[in-house]
Symmetry: C2
Subunit: 490 residues, 2 copies
């Protein structure tokens, strides 16, 4: 793209000034419509070192109320950040509905740097590009406006600016070794940048190359593109997004009604023996996966009163508390609802070597959110694909991903509800909502069946835990987890 | 304390077993009362390396529903964490109301390590102890149960355990160089630990020394102490806390009604000239404070429509967006309301070298929360002291702390409300709540006066910005900020 890019004509001083003023006022007016329409805007400013990315952002935000934007300057990932999937720190920073996030360099900078210094080979680079495209598409599909700018300057101009900054001790810190390296390897960098720009230039999140020779002109180019982008996005607000074909390696799952429950039992003796054996095995595996830095993500979904809590406890009972977290998932709080529905899960990912257990999960999207109308039909239909992508991201990162559906029948649920109602120490577990959900058993079952069919992948399979006999379900979960960890540690 | 500690008698095997069972059941029952009564419990487990802290936590949590606790294993602070006040990462991890946090080592470990390796001299150590005591007292004063355990083992026992762990490659990673060092300098460590235990042994958060020779017995000691502590705390729930005398270096502030507004104006010409001059000065100072890693915290409070937003923009207009954040503060979300009211502000502190601007702040505690009855009288009265402490913590860390009260009179507010009402692009700024607050002007004014008297300290002074003429207020803010930064950078 850089090769064939035609430098735009710079307007004269007078025109520049009046257009800057007009665009600034336009953005000022837009911020309120954006707020009303709850449009989130992510502006990514990438480009050469010393091209003026930061100072352009400084100019842009003057037109926006401080309550409506955040600026993040992304340095190289910290040691802590390197222990998560590489997109995590970007996903964590996506804006709330109705607000802007400006990123001063982002995932392009990270990927191209790693490409240039040889960390990413061809295959790893291709995987990164895939991840990036999916990330951006997931954002735009979910109503985000994603604007990507590349600040272009010549080698000569870059050298001039670097020298200018270095001359003053108060600005010298701004010049990184990376900037100097870039200038010395300008052609090689340009090639890698160009390739990346082409690889990630998608219709929903295209690149804009900015002629950054003059600061004011660069500002104008960004400002006008930003305004146009916002206008277009505001017009598109109720557009449904095409559903992508489910191309993930799926595992055929039985329907819930066809999964036998009755003979899935264990005697007390078998249970105790197996529990002891599997827990001590798991304890040992946990130490090993910590040492080998394998991350593990375990999802629990299931009927109310199916025994999720007790099942999870038998798992965690064998784990070193320094190496796992349980995330109980309730309905989202306002700041969570204001973002992509996967945001709060990205924020809860384990570090490598750790285990994260989700007591309910992102699958709420295709169950409660679908059935209670908390999202549109287009939203939840798209979600199957998005969740398969999300889990593939985790898998590619090296995580073991396991998903459990804790299954009981309707009669068993009634028995347990009644018992909870009559046992003071268990009453807190039973809410009016549980009774309401119970009335909708059949529609829930259909939704669960669809979910199991569409999201059980080879890399993140669903397992049904037959839990009329809770002992059976617990041993089955422990067995699946230990086997999966053994396989991963081989 | 360690010197005079008398090792408790270990019960025989039968008794140990039955008491463990009883205490476990007691804790299981307590977790629900805790949840109902919204009691937050912070359990700090400190002690010698390899004393069994982690595995004891592993046993304790078996009695608690995974939804009700979190475990954090605190390693040495990361480079990122070192750029915040040292208590930040602990404050961030305090539990929600009705839940437990278990810390596997915490601030004792950090402080004593730094004492042992010479990072903390006598004075710095004394300051740390002060900070710790204040932190713990602020938690207990605000209804937290804080339980601190020290796991005691002999030098010989420690050596035995370290060797045991080292023998197996899957557990060898658990032995740190610190553990080995400790064992080789056992006496010296014991002295520093003992001193710290005595220094921080307070009535509201006392130490419990645990005989950790036997794992089961250690578990019993913690479990029984925990249960007793919870029972006591549940009985105390509505206890008011003594108000401490305001012993901070206060600056005498005028009453708002005595602060003249009328002649505080600037001509357009003076304004433009001063704005340009001060902004360019501030730009330069921002670079220097980034380089010198000085953190800055600026608080804006003031009447609705006083011009806070525009004032902040004139400040940020001069700043490099990579080095500041504006935090607009609205009413707290559920997960914020469930914790100490300063929690969300601790989470928003700037890194060193950065500027954090708070558009409304923790002072909501003694204004809106006081006047709308969102907290008890005891709560808001205590808050003056707590906020002085909080800011002193920031000051000791090296931060410049400035607080602005943006002042207008009642007539000016009415004019601006009317203008907002009649200007479509400004209507979003005016809410029904603004009108309701306006009706309570007099009680608000009295509360603000009290706040200014009680929380304007030499290290974090309040400044009144006369904002009937917004230009005047903006220039005054810029002048105060640049002068404070110049002084700090000298």
């Amino acid at each position: 793209m850089l090769k064939h890019w035609i430098r735009p004509d710079k307007p004269d001083k007078e025109e520049l000034k009046s257009r800057l003023k007009a665009a600034g006022e336009r953005l000022e007016a837009q911020q309120l419509r954006l707020k009303d329409k709850k449009l989130p805007v992510l502006v990514l400013i990438e480009g050469w070192g010393a091209a003026g990315k930061g100072s352009t952002i400084g100019q842009l935000i003057k037109h926006i109320d401080p309550r409506f934007f955040q600026v993040f300057s992304m340095a190289a990932p910290t040691a802590e950040e390197r222990r998560k999937p590489f997109l995590t720190r970007y996903f964590e920073r996506i804006p709330e509905a109705g607000k802007f996030t400006f990123l001063d360099s982002g995932w392009m900078d990270e990927v191209t740097k790693e490409r240039l210094n040889g960390v990413l080979g061809d295959e790893a680079y291709a995987q990164r590009v895939d991840s990036v495209k999916r990330f951006e598409r997931q954002l735009t599909d979910n109503g985000y406006l994603v604007l990507k700018f590349f600040f272009q300057i010549s080698r000569k101009e870059q050298a001039r600016r670097i020298n200018g900054l270095m001359d003053d001790k108060d600005t010298a810190w701004r010049v990184s070794r990376g900037d100097l390296w870039q200038n010395h390897h300008y052609e090689r960098c340009a090639e890698v940048f160009d390739r990346y720009l082409e690889d990630t230039n998608t219709p929903s999140a295209p690149w804009y190359i900015v002629d950054a020779r003059s600061k004011k002109f660069a500002e104008l180019q960004v400002l006008e593109t930003l305004c146009t982008g916002i206008d277009t996005a505001l017009q598109n607000e109720s557009l449904a997004v095409p559903l992508l074909q489910n191309v993930f390696p799926l595992i055929k799952m039985p329907k819930l009604s066809e999964a036998p429950l009755k003979d899935k039992t264990l005697s007390e003796g078998e249970y105790k023996e197996e529990l002891k054996r599997l827990q001590s095995k798991l304890r040992m595996l946990h130490n090993r996966l910590y040492r080998k830095r394998v991350p593990v993500v375990i999802v629990y979904e299931g009927w109310d009163a199916a025994g999720k809590g007790g099942n999870i406890k038998r798992l965690t009972g064998a784990l070193d508390p320094r190496g796992f977290e349980v995330h109980p998932v309730a309905s989202p709080e306002p700041h969570e609802k204001a973002r992509h529905y996967l945001w709060r899960f990205w924020k809860s990912l384990p570090k490598d070597g750790h285990i994260a257990i989700f007591d309910r999960s992102w699958y709420g999207r295709v169950m409660v959110e679908r059935l209670e109308g908390f999202c549109s039909e287009n939203d939840w239909q798209r979600a199957y694909y998005e969740m398969n992508e999300f889990e593939q991201e985790l898998h590619n990162w090296g995580a073991v991903v396991l998903k459990f559906w804790v299954q009981i029948d309707k009669d068993t649920q009634l028995e347990r509800f009644t018992e909870r109602k009559n046992t003071p120490s268990k009453q807190w577990k039973l809410t009016d909502e549980d009774w309401r959900n119970r009335e909708k058993w059949d529609v829930y079952e259909a939704a669960v069946d669809e979910m199991l069919q569409k999201t059980s992948t080879t890399y993140a399979p669903w397992h049904i835990l037959e839990s009329v006999d809770k002992k059976f379900a617990r041993i089955k979960a422990l067995r699946i987890v230990t086997e999966a960890l053994e396989a991963a540690l081989k």
